[in-house]
Subunit: 387 residues, 2 copies
């Protein structure tokens, strides 16, 4: 019911925006600083159409452009050397962006910095009609823990983030299910905890009693920690692993690391319920493809499977349907409405007909971007570990 109202509101909102766009090219003059800005920064701004207005001082520059996910928008200079430029209306939610200053591609000093598209770069949040579900609220919060540990299989220092739910430290005897949640190509283990808002999404769902408290492990889908990183690398943004799938989609190294290094380490160091019924695997884009490959090969390890904008499972890929039906409790597939989710939808229907609990979710008016994946996690989490 909630979903239907949200969908309706989104349609109404979008229809309104289209009328505005059709009538005039003049932006609506209700600009506000983006919620993702660095503290105190007035730019970039967004307006109610979802346009982005960037501004930077570059007195000697000849040409400055705003670049949102590869699409360029011109900026113009005033007498003080300040460049300003607007984008066309953007989808609600998170977008990677940057500035091009006389041919140099750089981050916007005023935006927030995330790891995406293979680099640390700017991101901007366009306020969304459903932003409440990933907002920071005065509810009990889980912890996002940054871990370093040695992985024997990968023969390297691994780096991951683990979300522990709000009650985790209250009762030293209580154990929790675990979701292994993967990022996309050219992203890394920081993505879900930062621009993905995984912690706030789960904090809010748990506070509303809509999801069972569970642990989330966010690992790097590549295999090795950055070659020329530490000494002195420190924890945090700079310490991400390299790889992220660069060099082709062979997932076998990550499969070995996940099954032989990551899961045993998590089970040994956190109070997990260390069995198949209480272990889920999901991911976005390339992480969805990894989930597809790895979960099909390990149905004794994972009971709940989620693929967000990253494929689906066809019935003819399932070697032993009876075993799959018995062991797999959920196959969740999602896409943004601006992506092509037709095959995913068809495959979910076929799984349902085969008697498997399968769910298809389409995020309204979003593309292959984080708003699709925030919503996917928000839809997926309440379906996990039902008893």
């Amino acid at each position: 019911m909630t979903m239907k109202i949200t969908t309706l509101l989104l349609l109404v909102f979008t229809a309104g925006a289209f009328v505005t766009r059709g009538q005039t090219n003049q932006p609506v003059d209700d600009w506000k600083p983006a919620p993702s800005n660095q503290p105190g920064q007035q730019y970039p701004q967004v307006n109610s159409e979802g346009r982005v207005r960037a501004r930077i001082r570059a007195p000697q520059a000849l040409d400055v452009q705003l670049d949102i996910s590869g699409k360029k928008f011109p900026m113009t200079k005033d007498a003080d050397g300040m460049w300003t430029g607007d984008s066309t209306p953007q989808d609600q939610g998170n977008h990677y962006y940057g500035l091009v200053i006389d041919g140099a591609q750089v981050s916007d000093p005023n935006g927030s910095f995330i790891f995406g598209s293979g680099a640390w770069r700017s991101d901007i949040d366009i306020p969304a009609i459903d932003q409440d579900f990933y907002a920071l609220k005065n509810v009990p919060h889980g912890q996002l823990r940054e871990l370093f540990y040695f992985g024997k299989t990968s023969n390297t220092n691994r780096h991951c983030f683990v979300y522990t739910p709000p009650d985790y430290d209250k009762d030293p005897n209580k154990r929790f299910p675990v979701l292994y949640l993967q990022h996309g190509y050219n992203e890394n283990e920081t993505g879900w905890g930062h621009q993905g808002c995984a912690g706030f999404i789960l904090d809010n769902l748990i506070a509303e009693g809509k999801a069972r408290p569970f642990i989330v492990v966010m690992e790097n889908g590549g295999i090795a920690l950055g070659g020329n990183r530490p000494p002195g690398g420190g924890r945090g943004p700079g310490a991400q692993s390299r790889g992220s799938g660069r060099g082709g989609f062979d997932f076998s190294a990550f499969e070995h690391a996940l099954i032989e290094d990551v899961i045993p380490y998590i089970d040994a160091n956190f109070r997990t319920i260390a069995d198949q019924p209480h272990r889920a695997l999901a991911g976005l884009s390339m992480g969805g493809m990894q989930t597809h490959t790895i979960s099909l090969a390990h149905i004794d390890t994972f009971s709940h499977i989620g693929m967000f904008s990253g494929g689906s499972i066809a019935t003819n890929e399932i070697a032993d349907m009876a075993a799959f039906k018995q062991k797999v409790k959920l196959v969740f597939v999602s896409y943004g409405s601006r992506e092509n989710g037709a095959t995913g939808k068809t495959n979910v229907l076929a799984l349902k007909e085969a008697g498997i609990n399968s769910v298809y979710y389409e995020s309204p008016n979003t593309a292959h971007e984080w708003q699709t994946w925030r919503r996917s996690l928000h839809e997926f989490a309440p379906l996990l570990f039902k008893e």
Copy 2:
């Protein structure tokens, strides 16, 4: 003994560098990618003199400069539109830097991003003779936990990082002392965990048996969470608090928050030894000044006091010397050798003469920068919570 050898080696190294600098302006051609670079990036590079070589593609730019902590170095363009420029030799350790492209001050897309100087910007690590003490090693690691919680005194959502030592989750009955560790002006709660390498420093000291395992709390020295941050802010780099002392050095708001919100929250949610003998307060620069003010007013709360490049305690500031002597177990003061630590040194001597356990440390060949503070933490931590 270790300290003395390190000091000697640093002197030898620096003497060598001076000879090289004196002989020629040509950089030594042994450039290597900086350890702080983004994964796979070949630039910026550093050479054995500690020079920084930056490179960026900006084909239409008229003027590009390398800016290290405010000092500018020219860069020159080749036929392909690639700009390259070298700095003079820099001190070992971490420096904030950026690029100036036709007057626009931006981060280097190849460097790592940290919060410093009031913004997210680039930082670079010049390999240091003693870098081993903050290196990522195959030793048991603690966790760096990111926390959100509501502070009643500050009437806002607070954001901090908590380091828990490697053994923290092993024994649910074991309790630990706590160090509250503050950042500097225009920095925030991410600094110590990231460019400060606090986690690796403590992991390594604990693994060598040189420091007692304790919890470290890294809070924001300002008071309010960024006004136009979440919804959608997410955890991590973008979610830092604002303030950091901007608008003057009145520490009373932070004093109230620390004593009335932060410490009670930490004591209620972590297995602390919640008494004065097991609670320390330290900070760098402005965080040292906060430590000075707050610890003098709360000797019933803190037993160990550390000021790194941020002041010291004169005997005439101590209202009740007998009480101070009885309750305060350590006053630690440090400066980089390129700072003026004369007053700090004098004050430490006076405290010693008054019978108070006081230590002065000078970091060889460093200025008001993170290498001074990494070393200060490394010297300070082994002196804490002796029994």
